[in-house]
Symmetry: C2
Subunit: 396 residues, 2 copies
């Protein structure tokens, strides 16, 4: 690849992103949009075509003069996104426009360790290949439910991932599939997904709050994921919300995650059912032997007071933490995602009420607090977007 050293590193990445997000564009449009002189653009297009990242896509519609040629990303490009949860595995292969060409979603216990989990990831990716989803992958992005050294491509002391500490996840995936790979925290990839194709589209400063088995926060500042000095920024699940609260899995007292999370909500719902405080929950518990966030959500929609109260109490706890973070970070949007986002508007109303009451009016004047648009797909979609970014950067 002939690399013209005097180009700023950012141009080809910006060009490739534009084609990924908007589809075929004419050379003239590319020059306009990126504010680049024609000569320089043609050289860049040549270079990226030689690198098989771009192809010509026929003539553009006439703008009066000579017809400009349309350019698009090579439709053969394939990126894989992997989203590992505490008990789930989502794997997708997407094309150059981030459209899904293969998708798998199954139960997986992260505690079985990196070898068996990544072995299964590879099996699913190979299955997609056999089924014709791709010939070769151009990059893989993977999110894991714990702190990550983004630079080194390894998990770092992840509390709920025994055996994963410093395991070479990036290296293993990269070697297995012969392409670049990138490892990030699950909440960061959800934020990336939501910014690329969801409700935070084109928002530069926002928080993506995930409430699932645990609680975490993806931070987007100035259009970039902010990871902090050790890569663990956004670990809001262990912020103390009650000095005399229950003991958390981390050993501290009254963490947010110990007061409101998928696991806690299930336990409280079962408690309410057993204590006879909710006929609806009691009935569902008797039928299934357990209760989930979904049961609470359905019961609340039916007007079950105990369920509504559980959701509001959780929303109040989370809202208190978010009010503090709004005062500190002054974001322009908060997105609520993860499994408990299905608690919907009762949860949202409570969070909003606390944040709008507690934070500085200047910071909440234009602050939407909304539910994730991509839902359970946010993570895997974001992982695929992150994969494409790495492919673009490494193609320089």
């Amino acid at each position: 690849m002939s690399l013209a050293r005097d180009l700023t590193a950012a141009l080809p990445v910006r060009l490739l992103r534009l084609l990924r997000d908007e589809g075929p564009l004419s050379r003239a449009e590319l020059c306009d949009r990126l504010e680049i002189a024609r000569t320089r653009m043609l050289a860049e297009l040549d270079r990226l075509t030689t690198a098989e990242l771009l192809v010509e896509a026929g003539p553009a519609e006439s703008r009066g003069g000579r017809r400009s040629t349309l350019v698009e990303l090579n439709p053969g490009l394939r990126f894989a996104g992997v989203d590992l949860g505490a008990t789930s595995m989502d794997v997708e292969v997407v094309d150059s426009r981030m459209e899904t060409v293969a998708a798998f979603s199954e139960f997986a216990d992260i505690r079985t360790g990196p070898k068996s989990i990544l072995h299964r990831v590879n099996e699913l990716l190979n299955k997609a290949k056999v089924e014709g989803a791709y010939e070769r992958l151009d990059a893989i992005g993977i999110g894991v439910p714990g702190p990550v050294s983004f630079r080194d491509g390894v998990p770092v002391s992840p509390p709920i991932m025994p055996g994963w500490d410093r395991f070479p996840v990036r290296e293993l995936l990269s070697r297995e599939h012969g392409c670049p790979a990138v490892v990030d925290n699950d909440v960061n990839i959800m934020a990336i997904g939501e910014r690329h194709g969801g409700v935070a589209h084109s928002v530069d400063d926002f928080l993506f709050v995930k409430i699932g088995t645990g609680v975490g926060c993806g931070i987007h500042l100035a259009g970039q994921v902010y990871r902090g000095s050790d890569g663990c920024a956004g670990d809001i699940g262990h912020i103390q919300v009650e000095s005399r609260g229950p003991v958390c899995s981390c050993g501290n007292i009254g963490c947010l995650e110990a007061m409101f999370s998928g696991a806690v909500l299930e336990a409280l719902a079962i408690e309410a059912a057993k204590a006879g405080r909710s006929a609806v929950l009691e009935e569902r518990y008797a039928a299934n032997g357990t209760l989930s966030a979904r049961d609470v959500s359905i019961a609340a929609a039916e007007g079950d007071l105990a369920s509504i109260q559980l959701i509001r109490e959780g929303g109040r706890r989370l809202g208190g933490v978010l009010a503090s973070l709004v005062s500190f970070a002054n974001p322009s949007m908060i997105v609520i995602g993860g499994g408990l986002a299905q608690l919907g508007h009762i949860l949202l109303a409570e969070i909003r009420s606390v944040v709008y009451r507690r934070s500085l009016p200047l910071a909440t004047g234009n602050l939407p607090i909304v539910l994730s648009e991509l839902g359970p797909r946010a993570g895997v979609a974001g992982a695929a977007v992150l994969a494409s970014e790495i492919a673009f950067e490494q193609a320089l």
Copy 2:
């Protein structure tokens, strides 16, 4: 000024900063340090010399070959820094190396409004001029104790600054002195000061926590001040720390600032003196008719238990908020400044104890929590640095 359009905007700014912070450098050193080819550097130096920002400073020491010429910032450059507090005004004029050439510090009640306060600022600056500190100013930086629209150069709904809302501070100063001006929040300029010439030197991600009459936080991320989407990021004084606490000036209950700040500490100290819980405080109160943070600090140093307890209780409150912010932002340093920083190591020990106990080990492993090095000068020094940055940017 002949502006070569193909230069990236950042080079001249980086060049001017380097000379400001390191003093005279040879052309060869400049090329090495900024990784710029000699031809381009010479063109840039010519341009900045014509703009009277640079001068030649004689021959460099020989490096074996032909002697290189030393270049330095024009020693006639003058920047003004102004730090307005709730009850204080600091004005300094500095030279091209940020050395103080004139300094004034006096009582000023911010509530007397912008016209009288800025009139006094102008009087002090004119006094410095008459005394020979400068012939003309190249830029003015000013910090105010409230939220600011950095883009518009005006305070926005500042709670403790009646009459200042949207007052054209930048425009007035700029017109009066015929130079660029820049307006920022007081905590942001303190953070800038501490990063330029204090304990946070060369640290890219840190929090500067000011505890004075009120409480606020300057946020430095990736080497830049982070101001948030409405310019009010860092407003941590109104984070709730006690749901059944006292009413704050903002109307909410149990804000950090209502539990620990200069005003609160004074009130609690007087209460302790009156209740006979501290002989030392009682004596000082009888002598002066009031008590300040300084009295509490001196009493604590003499071993007064009531004073030590007041400091520790405040440190515990602040520490709890900082522990949450460490979990969220994962900074690489926390600097404690403002008037109450004089409470010193008793305060620091308590803050550290809470943060190290409450936050994720990964985030606190390499996290120094330290006292401001510049002390009361942090704000005015930072305002002068900010002024120089604006002068450099506008000189393009």
